[in-house]
Amino acid sequence: MARIKTRKSGSVEKRLIGLADLVIQAAQRKRDPTIQIPVRSLSNVKFNEKRGIIEMGPNRQARSFFNVGMAKKFMQTLLVADALAELQRAELTTSLREIYYRTKHTIKGSHENTFDTQDESDPVIEDLEVALEALREELHVRAENAGTVVGPLVVVDDGDRVDCSRLGKGGYSVPSIVEPEDVQIKKCTADFVLLVEKGTQWNRLAEDRFWKKYNCVLLTGNGQPPRGVRRLARRLHDEKRLPVYVLVDNDPWGYYIYSVVKQGSINLAFESERMAIPDAKFVGLSSSDPEAYGLPRNVGIKLSDKDISRAKELLNYRWFQKKEWQGEIKRMLSIGLKFELDALANKDFQFLTKQYLPKKLKDRDWLD
């Protein structure tokens, strides 16, 4: 566990302790202790068209103790709250997995474990995030450093000055917490931010010094970008007024990654406010690219049943209702193929750096 600087965290701790008060008061009045937890599902998000972000709806779910179906969950919620309060007091940060191990034990007088797998504790932490309106960072829970950045960018991390243009091909590993208190953006002379879905393409671009030639910040999140990466992109967008371009695979999951960057995710809709970049643009891979760039059909992959049903779900999302987007997704469905970014190597190893991206950027060929 890493020691972090003192932050105005008193309120988070108080909110956690509030849960204990809730139980105590309910017990005194012989009532059923109940925690209200906002529902984290598609049914409880709404797309704010004006702001271009997904917001959480008003639906709440009651989690009460004296209900056979919920008793264990309730108990687990309090255990996690206790562990989180402990972190607050000790001023430590930790990972989801460590929380799981910290709270796991056999319930006294039985052979039952408080948690059997991490799959049980992770959602409880997310529940507490939304219920207490506390960000994960404020709860001192961090994710893995799954993102990397390189480019003309200087940040100060924990007092250390990091010049992201002098970090070779490897780049700077984006921490999961990049709030201004932890990471300050000192200087950024780039013209735009390019967020790449996959590490492979990010490596290609870094190796080819694409960022130098086109003066941009290169970011990757290795798949669905983690909070740190999204938050960093958002801050570069806000503080340095940089446009953000997203480069993903041409499949339903790629589209969804883009939409998460742009409008926020369904599961963590309450964080859109801080994370979403409504102005982000989709540069590729578009379903029209294989034809436009002469990718042969045999480097495509047949859409699986799962892909097709996911694509059809996307078609129904409010934030994919723009005409261009409907056309984009329907085209993919009618072709029946998906294309990975890697498939561009079929033309040339450096096709992405030397031809594809330059042409895309020059032609301003992107979707909004």
């Binding site: 956690l16 302790i17 849960l19 204990a20 008060d21 139980v23 105590i24 017990a27 005194q28 012989k30 009532r31 059923d32 202790p33 103790f65 004296f66 056979v68 008793a71 264990k72 309730f74 108990m75 309090l78 255990l79 709250a81 206790d82 309060a85 402990e86 056999t106 319930i107 006294k108 007088g109 039985s110 052979h111 039952e112 474990n113 408080t114 059997d116 797998t117």
Partner: protein, 649 residues
């Protein structure tokens, strides 16, 4: 059973250069034809009799000897008591049982004994027996088994079969060493003498053979255990090759009703058999032949058949052939004839099955169903099914294992546990070729989900469950001579399915009843469990500044109020097995229902007779020591044992 070999000359002659380069003359070929004795045939085809692998050979040997012993005792009206001893044989130093390749199998019974002149032929002549020519239910059918085992031993070790037999207190004890002359299928007596024997009556057979001893599925141990389940009237003692002695006590003190011999039923007869019967009959008239040689054919019915066939009732049976015979055959099938009598079958009976299951298998619920007799191909048969369900929480389980907290992913094993099917034909356990057996197919085809047991498509039901299926018949249709699987006749499948459904229905009644009582109980319990956790978490959150005691108490009171308080305990007070005929329910307080008395050598009338629930007799203190034997025996549900221990309850 002697076959003329036309295709396979027994001894291929070396090819000699001849004028004609290929091919033989008819005369030359004719010279090669010769008779094959049945023993020669089976020496080459021993897999047909269940001697295909060393492991199976050892099991088959034990099985044949035990089956014979039981048949003999039952036929003589003696409650069987059998001792099985399997030892490692050969030159010392003897290897451990798991490594050994040579064994000596000895089976002793206190049966009627065998008269001197029959001994050699019973043990050293294939197809010599008392059971083939009659229609009557018995374990053995053809008279191959024990002599084949002896032949196998002779083939692999060269040792003769040793037999000791005595027919009564005043009779001398005869000791024989016999071998089989495979060419002639006749016994060869190596040693013959009168000896002293401490037993008054009985037979002892010793066969030395090559084999392998392995525990687990389809092992001797399993065979003995299963035999004891389906034959609770048998007292079995088993000395394992590892030097252990296992005793399977008699829990049912009545001999099964002796089955009667019957005549063939006209519906099941094949055309050729009909011709043979017409030829061999002692009657002078056709109508007489029909009504005396067949069962369920009265003179009136015989007349009816003759009329339909257009034959004279007074026709000479021997003269009926060709078209007339065919007409007669068709007429028989067209006439309505009563189903065959069923006193030729002696089912195990619901009570005895219950006793067997209860004795041998650990569970919470037992039930048994005996179907009314039915007929396939003219052969009457009875299907019986039984079921043992649960983990037997009435028993104290190995607590060291249970207390261990589960690591991630550990609990999933127990859920994958599938039911075990135990199959019987005429009280003999069937251990091989499960998936080819009609019983197994019927278990798969039964929709167990309707009865509250989970089941994946095309798989056995999941859960701690043993399913017992028994087919009793004058002629069990096996798929092969080694008697491993029951052939798939529609009539048989239907009966098995009906029996299984009845078991399933009773199981679902039990499960639902238990569920209902448990729901409330569990509700209170989980709250009580979690209250402690919640209270402790609150205390830590508040920095230790609250009274856990008070909080716990308040929460507990709320829990009581919300789950129905004291009333639950009454609901919980276990359901009686009412509405559940022929069933036993085991609760933590003890078993209820038709509970057998364990390990008490009481006279037959002391065995529980009534179907009414009895007070749990196991509670009586003086019987406790006897009960101690039980856990050891019951432990042997080996394949599922481990998973069982990890189950949460």
């Amino acid at each position: 059973m002697t076959t003329k070999a036309t295709k396979h000359p027994t001894k291929p002659e070396k090819p000699t250069p001849q004028a004609k380069p290929r091919g033989l003359t008819a005369a030359e070929m004719g010279d090669r034809q010769r008779e094959i004795s049945v023993s020669e045939f089976f020496t080459k085809n021993r897999h047909l009799l269940g001697f295909d692998s060393p492991r199976k050979a050892l099991l088959t040997c034990v099985k044949e000897a035990v089956d014979n012993a039981l048949d003999a005792c039952e036929e003589a009206g003696i409650l069987p008591e059998v001792v099985v001893r399997v030892e490692v044989a050969g030159e010392p130093p003897l290897p451990p049982a798991s490594q050994a390749t040579r064994f000596r199998v000895t089976i002793v019974d206190y049966g009627p004994g065998i008269v001197r002149q029959h001994i050699p032929r019973i043990f050293a002549k294939l197809l010599y027996g008392s059971k083939f020519h009659r229609l009557r239910m018995s374990r053995g059918q053809q008279g191959i088994g024990i002599s084949a085992a002896g032949m196998y031993g002779q083939l692999t070790t060269g040792k003769p079969v040793q037999i000791t037999s005595r027919t009564g207190e005043n009779a001398p004890t005869h000791y024989f060493e016999v071998q089989i002359d495979t060419k002639k299928n006749e016994p060869r007596i190596l040693e013959k003498k009168e000896i002293e024997w401490e037993r008054h009556r009985g037979t002892q057979v010793t066969i030395e053979l090559e084999g392998r001893y392995q525990k687990g599925r389809a092992s001797i141990d399993e065979y003995i255990e299963l035999t004891s389940i389906a034959n609770p009237h048998v007292q079995l003692t088993y000395h394992t090759p590892e030097g252990e002695t296992k005793v399977y006590p008699r829990t049912f003190h009545q001999l099964p009703e002796p089955p009667r011999e019957i005549k063939p039923h006209p519906y099941g007869i094949e055309f050729g058999v009909l011709l043979k019967m017409l030829h061999d009959t002692k009657s002078h008239w056709l109508s007489g032949c029909l009504s005396t040689d067949f069962s369920r054919v009265s003179p009136r019915v015989a007349g009816e058949i003759c009329q339909t066939a257009g034959l004279n009732t007074h026709a000479k049976p021997r003269n009926i052939m060709g078209q007339d015979a065919e007409k007669l055959y068709k007429a028989i099938q067209a006439t309505k004839i009563m189903a065959p009598p069923t006193n030729c079958i002696s089912p195990i009976g619901e009570k005895a099955i219950l006793h067997g299951l209860y004795k041998q298998i650990k569970g919470d619920f037992y039930t048994a169903v005996t179907r009314p007799p039915a007929v396939y191909r003219g052969n009457p048969f009875v299907i019986e099914a039984g079921l043992a369900f649960g983990t037997g929480k009435g028993e104290a389980v190995d607590s060291a294992h249970k207390a261990m907290p589960l690591a991630e992913g550990e609990h999933k094993e127990a859920e994958a546990e599938l039911a075990r099917v135990i199959r019987y034909a005429n009280r003999v356990p069937l251990l091989y070729q499960q998936s080819a057996c009609a019983t197994f197919k019927s278990v798969l085809d039964t929709t167990w989900r309707n009865y509250g047991v989970s089941q994946s498509r095309g798989a056995l039901p999941a859960g701690p469950m043993v399913i017992f299926v028994h087919m009793a018949s004058v002629w069990v249709p096996f798929t092969s001579e080694s008697k491993e699987a029951i052939a798939d006749y529609d009539e048989i499948r239907k009966e098995i399915t009906l029996a299984l459904r009845e078991c399933g229905r009773r199981l679902s009644v039990f499960l639902r009843r238990r569920e209902r009582a448990e729901v409330e109980h569990r509700r209170r319990n989980i709250f009580d469990l979690y209250i402690e956790e919640v209270a402790q978490a609150c205390k830590r959150l508040k920095g230790g500044k609250i009274s856990v005691e008070a909080l716990r108490k308040q929460l507990h009171e709320t829990a009581m109020k919300r789950t129905g308080g004291e009333e639950t305990d009454e609901i919980l007070d276990k359901g009686q097995p009412e509405g559940l005929p022929h069933s036993i329910i085991v609760t933590p307080e003890g078993p209820e229902g038709e509970v057998p008395e364990m390990g008490v050598a009481s006279p037959p009338e002391a065995a529980p007779q009534a179907a009414v629930p009895e007070p749990p007799k196991e509670q009586e203190p003086e019987k406790k020591p006897k009960l101690k034997k039980k856990p050891k025996l019951r432990k042997k549900r080996a394949p599922v044992k481990k998973a069982r221990k990890n189950r949460k309850r």
